[in-house]
């Protein structure tokens, strides 16, 4: 059973990691916790599901989903975060929370409150190894997430725009002085973070076969814990945080108690913050 739970945890963890990357990038560069990250995830899922239902074209649906997520992210940046940059930390926090509530209730009004299935059949293939089973979907989730993480790392470390973002994250005043367009860096960060969350949302819409306006709430909170766990502001940290959280949750439910499955994320969070506040890979 251990191996199987590890596999389950890995798949769940990859999704947390994708969303956690969004949180960590935005926190790293803007210093705010984007409470509406879960809603970006949700709009990504809806974008894909609605497009697929209307056109039957999976590739188009995925693109539409990512586009929807990015649109929401950019609008958030412009209207909920940019106007309150630099103020008492509570202010962008409340703004983010308000945006989150607004976005999810808007979705409920537009899309209706019911869950929607993913308009495509998946063949229940699974592969066996060492007594554990990994389904095709789980494999897709893990591979796609890894691919995205690698691409992100390459972008941030090897391209001009990417390095600019890292510079702004480290010291925005110095970056501005070296001629970097700070606003563009902010918008790019939001785009990247939203795209990641959007993909996560689409993957989950497929995996759970359930897309609903409130689907972003719990995963959002857990991914947030993952980002903190891994060390806020650290990209590899977010990935590790996500994976550790996914695995810890599943192992905890398996060996301790499934009643508290959801609590494990937060217990882990509180413990980490008390014992090692900067997280696993965080910088001081």
């Amino acid at each position: 059973m251990l191996l199987q739970q590890l596999v389950n945890g890995l798949a769940a963890g990859c999704v947390y990691a994708l969303v956690a990357l969004g949180y960590t990038m935005i926190f790293g560069i803007l210093g705010i916790v984007n409470f509406a990250q879960g809603e970006i995830y949700m709009y990504g899922a809806f974008g894909a599901v609605l497009t697929l239902a209307a056109t039957g074209n999976l590739v188009l649906a995925i693109v539409a989903g990512i586009a929807a997520a990015c649109l929401v992210g950019v609008l958030l940046e412009r209207f909920a975060f940019r106007p309150v940059r630099g103020m008492h930390p509570l202010i962008p926090l409340i703004s983010a929370i308000g945006a989150s509530i607004f976005l999810s209730s808007l979705a409920r009004l537009i899309f209706g409150p019911e869950d929607r299935s993913f308009p495509m059949e998946f063949h229940p293939h699974s592969y066996q190894f060492f007594g554990a089973e990994i389904t095709e979907l789980q494999l897709v989730i893990i591979l796609v997430s890894l691919a995205l993480m690698v691409m992100l790392w390459l972008f941030l470390n090897l391209t001009k725009h990417g390095k600019a973002i890292m510079a702004v994250a480290m010291d925005s005043d110095a970056a501005k002085l070296s001629g970097i367009n700070v606003n563009a860096a902010y918008v790019t960060t939001f785009l990247l973070g939203s795209a990641m969350s959007g993909v996560a949302g689409i993957l989950m819409a497929m995996y759970y076969n359930a897309t609903a306006p409130n689907m972003g709430l719990l995963p959002g909170l857990k991914a947030f814990s993952a980002a903190i766990l891994g060390g806020v502001g650290s990209i590899p940290g977010a990935i590790i945080g996500g994976l550790v959280l996914g695995v810890a949750e599943n192992l905890g439910a398996a060996y301790l108690s499934s009643h508290f499955k959801d609590a494990f994320a937060f217990i882990a969070l509180v413990l980490v913050l008390i014992i090692r506040p900067r997280g696993i890979l965080g910088r001081q």
Binding site: V33, M87, H88, I91, I94, G98, F102, L273, I274
Partner: protein, 288 residues
């Protein structure tokens, strides 16, 4: 007077107490807490369970405050060791963990909640009348307001203000930051616990869902909308956010959209809140 209006006023009074208590840690001492509803819940459950077990209201009420304060202390000791930025997150985690504990213990009734909580008894007589209960709440609220002002203008209040503005400087001045921050959380928890006790005996039934993140965020919004640190602001914020859902009843479907939009709009257009000082919009405290 319409029973419904009395009910709404009682709710305003209770939430005013909650907003004021949160204002101590957030507004006076500058500590961000996202799990305040947990203290509300601890007080409610403690008082409810104590009265169900047969003890009188004064005992239950007082114990609710003390037990909550002690748990606040238990939270503060480890939580304050983390950097300020992370305190918000730790309190969030605390709030969620407490809610899950409420859901899984037998003594709290688990997810079914606590049924049959006895009403407030004064001198042995149960207080069923709503105007009477409202009066009780207003009296306690009055005490709270007076003690808030006293605290704010006392040495403790000034120490808190110094810590809030810049804690490094404050410690250089010889203020025991750690001690004062802990005091802020403990006092804040104490009053929230008392509010919880009143709530439990008024509604006669509580369940864990009432004390979750949604409520914590609502109380925080009351403080921020009213103006962080302002006592009349907290009262106004509580009144506004309690009455608003009632007034918006005909627009039930649009209520949440309106609430979310209101929060964002307030932050963008008037972040200092209704009664707050404009100073709050300047770049705050420690460097980022």
């Amino acid at each position: 007077m319409s029973v419904y209006i009395l009910h709404v006023l009682i709710m305003v009074a209770i939430f005013a107490m909650l907003a004021l208590s949160l204002n101590i840690s957030v507004g006076f001492a500058g500590l961000v807490s996202l799990g305040h509803a947990a203290f509300f819940g601890i007080g409610a459950y403690a008082s409810g369970i104590i009265m169900i077990k047969g003890l009188g209201f004064p005992v239950a009420f007082g114990s609710a405050g003390i037990i909550t304060a002690l748990l606040g202390l238990a939270l503060a000791l480890p939580a304050l060791r983390v950097k300020d930025d992370y305190l918000a997150i730790v309190t969030l985690g605390f709030g969620i963990i407490v809610e899950i504990i409420f859901m899984n213990l037998d003594i709290t009734g688990g997810t079914d909640g606590l049924v049959g909580i006895p009403p407030v008894t004064l001198c042995g007589n149960p207080l069923y009348s709503k105007p009477g209960f409202l009066l009780l709440c207003v009296v306690i609220l009055g005490f709270m307001i007076v003690s808030m002002y006293t605290l704010k203008n006392s040495k403790i209040g000034r120490a808190w203000a110094a810590i809030r503005d810049n804690d490094i400087t404050a410690s250089f001045m010889g203020i025991n930051i750690y001690g004062y921050k802990t005091l802020a959380i403990v006092v804040s928890a104490f009053w929230a616990g008392l509010a919880g006790s009143l709530y439990a005996h008024y509604t006669a039934y509580i369940n864990p869902h009432t004390f979750g993140m949604h409520t914590s965020i609502m109380i925080l919004s009351m403080v921020v909308l009213g103006g962080i640190g302002s006592i009349p602001g907290a009262l106004l914020g509580a009144a506004l956010l309690t009455v608003l859902p009632e007034v918006l009843r005909p627009l039930a479907d649009y209520q949440d959209i309106f609430y979310g939009g209101l929060l964002v709009a307030m932050m963008v257009f008037r972040p200092q809140g209704i009664m707050g000082r404009v100073k709050i919009t300047e770049i705050f405290g420690g460097a980022r």
